[in-house]
Assembly symmetry: C2
Homo-oligomer: 196 residues x 2
DNA sequence: AGACTTATATAACGACTGCTATAAAAATAC
DNA sequence: GTATTTTTATAGCAGTCGTTATATAAGTCT
């Protein structure tokens, strides 16, 4: 059943993906409404009718980003060993960052550093999404410890924090212009910290 | 001999340090002229007469930041072994980030992610400063390799890149709200990647 | 058909941005 | 003293920010 009134002429999901791309590349404050509307192919009133305001649009875009990321990570988590999972995760992340045309950083990293002044709401939202990703690593490491892949003296939480930190660092380095081989060498060294 | 004209009523060096603090916390675009002038205790015309414009002021503040950082690092580089140096560097950086009231991130990291749209000039300036720091690590690692502290199969450049990446990652994590103990555990794990 | 409801584009709002013209103040030069 | 030079604060420039009032277009409901 079609709703009353004039039907909207754009696909809200596709428009959200376009907005995500703009936020991803420029951050919250760096993305202007005019740039967003232009990328989304709609006019400001349509944006505000569909998404509320800039902050709500950003949160919706962030949710979308986190969902896509969660799905990708969920697949990678199924590698036979935690070590293979981590290597695969590095490989996948580096491939993305080094790909021409892609945003060469993690949106959560960029957002953490750029949305400090945009109100606590966005910062909290960002922290929650970061925690989700780290929780996936933590769970996988716990399982690996239970299965004997990791030594009993290993703290899965510390290990998850360490690899999240390296992943974040890679994001910075990619944003600074590092190429694929360079990032791969760093990931290789980071894996040397794997518990023996 | 005092110059002609009316003498300036503020200390340019102190004003620059105040500007550095504002840029450090809010990034280039996030720092407004009004906030800068307020922090520096001067009015806009004084700012423009003394520093040119916002971009030049930022570059001056960045130079100041890099100089202070370089001096601190130079001291730390003199530790008896490269490993002790690296541990000391982690300790010092973490202490700073975790200190209440301090900017809880590296200005070069924040700048790399926030000044992408502010013109290539600033981005290049940022890259140069990043390279300076990494070059100090590289030189110290080369020396360690020459002295036999590092195995012959170790690539000092890769190692420098790895530790820079971890340091950058710690900066992100501190900005995300991580405390001192958490950062220390990560640094401890990062040191496990030290060549055996 | 006409009433109602929703989406659309245009244009504009007040607030802020980086920056500067103007004029007064404070020093030296002659 | 008067002229010159530089710094100062006030006020305002044109432009952009996020957001919205207005009016028109495009649908469903009765």
């Amino acid at each position: 059943m079609a709703p009353m009134g004039r039907p909207r002429e754009f696909d809200a999901a596709k428009a959200l993906d376009k907005a995500l791309d703009v936020f991803w590349r420029h951050g919250y404050e760096g993305a202007s409404i005019s740039e967003l509307t232009q990328a989304m192919g709609i006019s400001p009133p349509s944006l505000y009718a569909a998404f509320g305001n800039k902050e709500k649009l950003f949160r919706a875009a962030l949710d979308r980003y986190a969902e896509v990321r969660r799905q990708l990570w969920a697949e990678l988590m199924q590698a036979p060993t935690a070590r293979a999972m981590m290597e695969g995760l590095f490989e996948r992340v580096i491939q993305f960052y080094a790909q021409e045309g892609n945003p060469n950083c993690c949106m959560l990293v960029k957002g953490t550093l750029t949305s400090g002044d945009c109100g606590q709401v966005i910062a909290d939202h960002m922290s929650a999404k970061r925690a989700e990703s780290e929780a996936m690593l933590l769970e996988r490491f716990r399982k690996a410890k239970d299965e004997g892949e990791l030594p009993v003296e290993t703290d899965p939480a510390d290990l998850a924090g360490y690899f999240m930190t390296v992943l974040d660092g890679l994001s910075i380095r990619a944003a600074a212009g590092a190429g694929r081989e360079e990032l791969q060498k760093i990931a290789y060294l980071a894996m040397r910290g794997w518990p023996a």
